[in-house]
């Protein structure tokens, strides 16, 4: 079960040659509650990946603070301890796959954490099942011989095998087709439900996380310019195009309907949208 993860006034600058630095993230404060799925979205270069790395403890804030539960995470040993609770899926799965078989790849993390024998086997089975990867078919294959979608799932299984409380994923949906995205999304949903984990997803494409995310953190030039729920995002006036983003078609439709005074129970559910539209049309027709 995850604890509350909180950033307070976090700024992060990358050191440049000489004494210069490049500020990637400026004064960001936010909180991720246990079980939240936070989408960090922004255009290329908005600082979203850097912010996600701060959330994993891989980058320590240049100023400001990272809290997990009531504890402030600072100093090497605290960061190291915190990183054991966090799983990170890189954008390119090949950056984290390395073993000569899929099974060994998934085993690497838990083995390092001291798991052996049947416990290790069970953990591998469980992680592979959660991402829908058939081990009997693929377990002894090289991870590099898999399709893009399978690679992504193998890498995720390796991350889940560490049983992280907080899961951070950088652009996990890029290059996956509809079915690949759906199966990844359902793996994340079930992991979150089973473990009470918090999930942070970095993306430039809101449509990929539209029904998955509970909260949206929108970044522009290193600043967090919006931090709101899907409902708030729809009801508000946030000009996404100005932030280099676009509402998915589901969102634009829901927003147009809300503006037309149609009330919506669940803006991400097609039946709810159709039902609300039908009701409105029937009222207009005077049926």
């Amino acid at each position: 079960m995850a604890l509350r993860l909180r950033l307070e006034g976090v700024t992060y600058s990358y050191p440049l040659p000489g004494k210069d630095e490049a500020v990637a993230v400026t004064a960001v404060s936010l909180a991720v509650e246990p079980g939240d799925v936070l989408c960090l979205a922004g255009s290329n270069g908005s600082g979203k990946s850097t912010l996600a790395q701060v959330c994993t403890g891989l980058l320590a804030p240049s100023s400001g603070a990272l809290y997990y539960g009531d504890e402030r995470i600072e100093g090497r040993s605290a960061l190291r301890e915190f990183r054991r609770k966090v799983g990170l899926l890189f954008q390119n799965p090949e950056d984290q796959l390395f073993a000569d078989t899929v099974e060994k790849d998934i085993a690497f993390g838990p083995h390092n954490h001291g798991l052996r024998g049947d416990a290790l086997k069970a953990r591998i089975q469980e992680s592979a099942a959660m991402v829908g990867l058939p081990l009997d078919e693929l377990g002894s294959r090289s991870p590099f011989s898999l399709s893009e979608g399978q690679k992504r799932r193998a890498a995720l299984a390796g991350v889940l095998a560490l049983d992280p409380e907080v899961l951070v994923l950088d652009e996990p949906f890029i290059g996956l087709d509809f079915e690949g995205r759906q199966s990844l999304a359902s793996a994340l949903t079930s992991y979150r439900a089973e473990r009470g984990a918090s999930i942070i997803i970095v993306t430039h494409e809101l449509s990929h996380v539209w029904s998955l995310a509970t909260t949206f953190g929108l970044l522009s030039e290193g600043r967090l310019v919006r931090f709101e729920t899907r409902e708030e995002l729809l009801a508000g006036e946030t000009d996404l195009a100005a932030l280099g983003m676009q509402l998915p078609q589901w969102g634009s439709l829901a927003r147009e309907l809300l503006r037309a005074g149609v009330s919506l129970e669940d803006p991400a559910d097609p039946r709810a949208l159709a039902g609300a539209m039908a009701k409105r049309r029937e009222a207009t027709d005077g049926r």
């Binding site: 290329n44 290059g175 079915e179 690949g180 280099g244 078609q249 039902g275």
Partner: protein, 278 residues
């Protein structure tokens, strides 16, 4: 053969391609005519053969059966190896893998230089390509220091500088953010209007709605071809092809089930919302 030289279209005639060591063909028995001055969207789930077909169009892959006649040239003929890519240019998903120049203008000049054109003509082509892509201001910058979106525009400018009849985009927008994607798609429309044929491989159905014609592959076979309305309107069918149906079509389908006569060809939010007031 002489008459063929005049044509600026691509004819795909019953082609199949099987990768070495693969049990089944990546594409099989594909017949397809592609005209210049049109924008095509090529859709299909991962592994459906989109990239393989795209690579056959400019001779990067040669079909094991059937033939591709690109701009009058059979891609399998020995003389076509260098000639076809001049007429059918390609841009890929990741611009980092295709950029070699030290500055943007050097990068864009790379193709025309290889054609052995005189310096003056190279300059003209580079300037024109940079202007079309809207990146004249980046001419002296280092390509690898640009944003992903800018890099992709550089890669496209490099392709345009070859003055091809066709541009094949293999998921060139999938790594780009919204504003960069809009710029690239605008550019594709502009090039189409100027007479170029564009074949855009994509996962985004919303992008496909901009196309003149949509082509869908499934397990290496061509399974749907037609206008966006004809091919993308039925969400059940779209889903069965492994694609994410447009939200509007899903809601329209639900409305129809509730007994409402929604026009069958709605693809955009505007069209569907206007039905509320029709």
């Amino acid at each position: 053969m002489l008459a063929d030289v005049e044509t600026k279209d691509i004819k795909v005639e019953g082609i199949s391609y099987t990768y070495e060591g693969a049990d089944s063909p990546a594409i099989a028995d594909i017949d397809l005519g592609l005209e210049h001055g049109k924008l095509y969207a090529l859709l299909g789930r991962n592994g459906s053969g989109k990239s393989t077909l795209a690579r056959c169009l400019n001779g990067l892959l040669l079909p094991g059966a059937g033939r591709v006649v690109s701009c009058g040239m059979d891609t399998s003929e020995p003389g076509s190896v260098l000639e076809v890519p001049r007429h059918v240019a390609m841009v890929f998903q990741n611009p980092d893998t295709q950029i070699v120049g030290a500055t943007v203008e050097e990068e864009v000049a790379f193709g025309p230089e290889n054609l052995g054109l005189p310096t003056g003509q190279i300059r003209e082509r580079v300037d024109r390509a940079l202007e079309l892509a809207g990146i004249t201001s980046l001419a002296t910058r280092q390509p690898l220091r640009l944003s992903q979106g800018q890099k992709q525009l550089v890669a496209i400018a490099g392709a345009i500088a070859m003055e091809p009849d066709f541009l094949v985009s293999d998921e060139s927008t999938s790594m780009l953010d919204y504003s960069a994607r809009v710029r690239v798609l605008d550019l594709f429309e502009q090039l189409r209007d100027a007479g170029m044929g564009i074949i855009h491989v994509t996962h985004f159905l919303e992008e496909a709605t901009l196309a003149d014609e949509v082509v869908v592959l499934e397990s290496g076979r061509l399974v749907a071809q037609g206008t966006p309305q004809e091919t993308l309107g039925d969400p059940q069918r779209v889903r069965s092809l492994g694609l994410d149906p447009l939200a509007v079509t899903v809601v329209a389908y639900e409305l129809a089930r509730l007994g409402h006569a929604v026009p069958e060809d709605v693809l955009t939010v505007k069209e569907l919302v206007s039905w509320l007031y029709a």
